[in-house]
């Protein structure tokens, strides 16, 4: 099987179990996200694939070959770090050319390739600058160009946008997606930001406490989460007793309804296209509903108002199979 396969890997750091019998499959040419909170093991898994860490047990396969005992130098992976890991004593040009230089490529080949790469990452004209003279986003683009220089089979990015400003982060992740569409190298990136994963990944592996919770496309995970954790982590969820309800699956009305509970509106926030309504429930619980501007206008929602809340779709996770219940609209 081509692409990347990790089988039954376990990794401990002292007493801490970073990965507990983890297996994943990454199709060739795909863009996959490893998503999870801090300590979930996602970075460790990435570094395992790169060869920067060795598993205590299990193995890593790249393009059908068992590379568990192959050093990081020989795996042919490109790695991009959260804090860029720029060679600060070298110019941008020398950074990007590094992999080629140590393979003793001829000068004109290096020159040509560096030029191509700098165009690809839109850093033309920066060749003679030092990393300290670049912005965060520029440094990361340089790091990407550097990793791509010898055409790696796999591109691995460890929270690549974590150190950047919010707007730069959004721009750069979209740019990464477009790059992937052009270059088609198998890419895995690690993130704790579910919005980021949902935005650009083709496949998401959700991890928690050293285990894989669920793997699937963004839609799969959102519509059919396999556990409480995935439901709460990917997208937003309210808790209604034992059930979980998405904010946009809560129906609000001014009249009492079958199965609806009475709640008081605590706050109404207009976030552009959507309206967020924070509700205080009778049992002192709190939920929030997401409604469109139109709906908010129709119902004339305001603070202090009493409304009737009813989920039209909810999930429970007792027992082995998650259960989805859908209620007919009134």
């Amino acid at each position: 099987m081509d692409g990347i396969k990790v089988e039954g890997t376990t990794k401990r750091f002292g007493d801490f179990v970073a990965l507990d019998d983890v297996s994943i499959e990454v199709p060739e040419g795909s863009l996959t996200a490893l998503l999870g909170p801090s300590g979930s093991g996602k970075s460790t898994l990435l570094r395992l694939i790169a060869g920067l860490e060795t598993p205590d047990s299990g193995r890593v396969m790249l393009e059908g070959n068992d590379v568990s005992s192959v050093t990081v130098q020989d795996r042919g992976v490109g790695f991009v770090f959260q804090h860029y890991a720029a060679f600060k004593h070298m110019t941008v040009r020398d950074n990007i050319a590094f992999a080629l230089k140590i393979r003793k490529a001829p000068r004109d080949v290096i020159k040509q390739r560096v030029k191509e790469l700098m165009k690809l990452v839109q850093l033309q004209g920066m060749a003679h600058r030092y990393p300290s003279q670049l912005s965060g986003g520029q440094r990361q683009r340089m790091a990407l160009a550097r990793a791509l220089a010898v055409e790696p089979k796999v591109l691995l990015l460890d929270e690549p946008f974590g150190a950047l400003d919010a707007t730069v982060r959004k721009d750069l992740r979209r740019w990464l997606r477009r790059l992937h569409d052009e270059v088609h190298v198998t890419t895995i990136f690690v993130t704790h930001d579910q919005e980021e994963a949902m935005d650009i990944a083709q496949q998401i592996v959700v991890m928690n406490k050293g285990r894989v919770e669920q793997t699937g496309s963004p839609t799969d995970l959102y519509e059919h989460p396999s556990s409480e954790f995935v439901m709460s982590f990917v997208g937003e969820a309210n808790r209604l007793g034992e059930a979980f309800v998405r904010p946009h699956d809560l129906d609000l009305s001014l009249q009492p309804n079958d199965g609806a509970e009475r709640a008081r509106i605590e706050r109404v926030t207009h976030l552009g296209f959507e309206v967020r309504v924070e509700l205080a429930m009778p049992d002192d619980g709190r939920m929030w509903a997401q409604v469109t501007r139109a709906e908010a206008g129709e119902l004339k929602l305001e603070e202090g108002q009493a409304v009737y809340v009813r989920p039209n779709r909810q999930k429970t996770f007792n027992g082995d199979e998650p259960k989805t219940e859908e209620m007919r609209a009134a």
Partner: protein, 248 residues
């Protein structure tokens, strides 16, 4: 200010004044007498060699202290400062204990230039180590991992990534070590035997001049020694500035 002047500035000025007090001609004669030249030559060459050796050894030792771990590392680390804390004459004596007359190794370095070299190695040992250690501690390990992911072997990583970032610190240590070496006196007095033209270093020569009353001669050679020190330090400073062109 007065304190400084009384203690430091005025005496230093006196040395310079004395050196030329009997005229420039006398200065030249004193400074270029054969024994003085021999002493200066020995001092300069020995100091350069010793500094170079300790630059390499010091970097390796700093590397081991920072990156490696073994039982007793803490103690070893503290003992590195021993040459700083130990009186110079005691330093000389410890080397005689092991490499002198009665040596269990059978090596007798007393009265030889090797004795001079040993003593200088001893007293300049900590400089490069202590200069490199903090820089090594702060070094971004991810740079090395990035280089590895790009295909670089350990030696390449050391040569192209680690060393360039350590260079300023190494040079700083080298400067301090050199300055210490050319002026060193106490540790050499016992082990080198102070044989003129053979194992007599500049500081010992100057001492001899003072003892025999030729203070102007002593002052002249002192000034030359100082000048040599300043020139070498200046050159090292230039090299350091070239190397850190990019540093921020």
């Amino acid at each position: 200010m007065t304190y400084l002047s009384l203690i430091v500035l005025i005496p230093m000025a006196a040395v310079v004044e004395s050196s030329v007090s009997e005229g420039l001609g006398q200065f030249w004669d004193s400074a270029t007498q054969p024994q003085a030249i021999a002493a200066l030559k020995l001092t300069l060459i020995a100091s350069l060699i010793v500094t170079a050796i300790n630059a390499v050894a010091g970097t390796i030792i700093a590397w081991v202290l920072v990156r490696d771990d073994f039982p007793g590392k803490r103690i070893v680390n503290s003992l590195i400062d021993l040459p700083f804390a130990l009186p110079t004459v005691v330093a000389g004596l410890t080397l005689i204990a092991l490499y002198g007359d009665d040596s269990p190794f059978g090596i007798n370095a007393a009265f030889t230039v090797f004795g001079v070299g040993l003593a200088l190695l001893f007293v300049t040992l900590p400089f490069v180590i202590r200069a490199v250690q903090p820089v090594l501690l702060e070094l971004d390990r991810e740079m090395e991992e990035a280089a590895a992911s790009l295909g670089a072997r350990s030696t390449t990583i050391f040569r192209r990534i680690v060393l360039p970032n350590l260079a300023p610190a190494i040079l700083a240590g080298v400067a301090l070590a050199f300055a210490r070496a050319i002026g060193e006196f106490g540790s050499l007095v016992l082990i080198s035997g102070n044989v003129p033209f053979e194992t007599e270093v500049a500081s010992v020569f100057i001492f001899g001049q003072i003892e025999s009353g030729t203070e102007t001669g002593a002052a002249a050679v002192s000034v030359v020694l100082l000048a040599i020190a300043l020139i070498v330090l200046f050159v090292i400073g230039l090299v350091a500035r070239r190397v850190t062109r990019h540093a921020r």
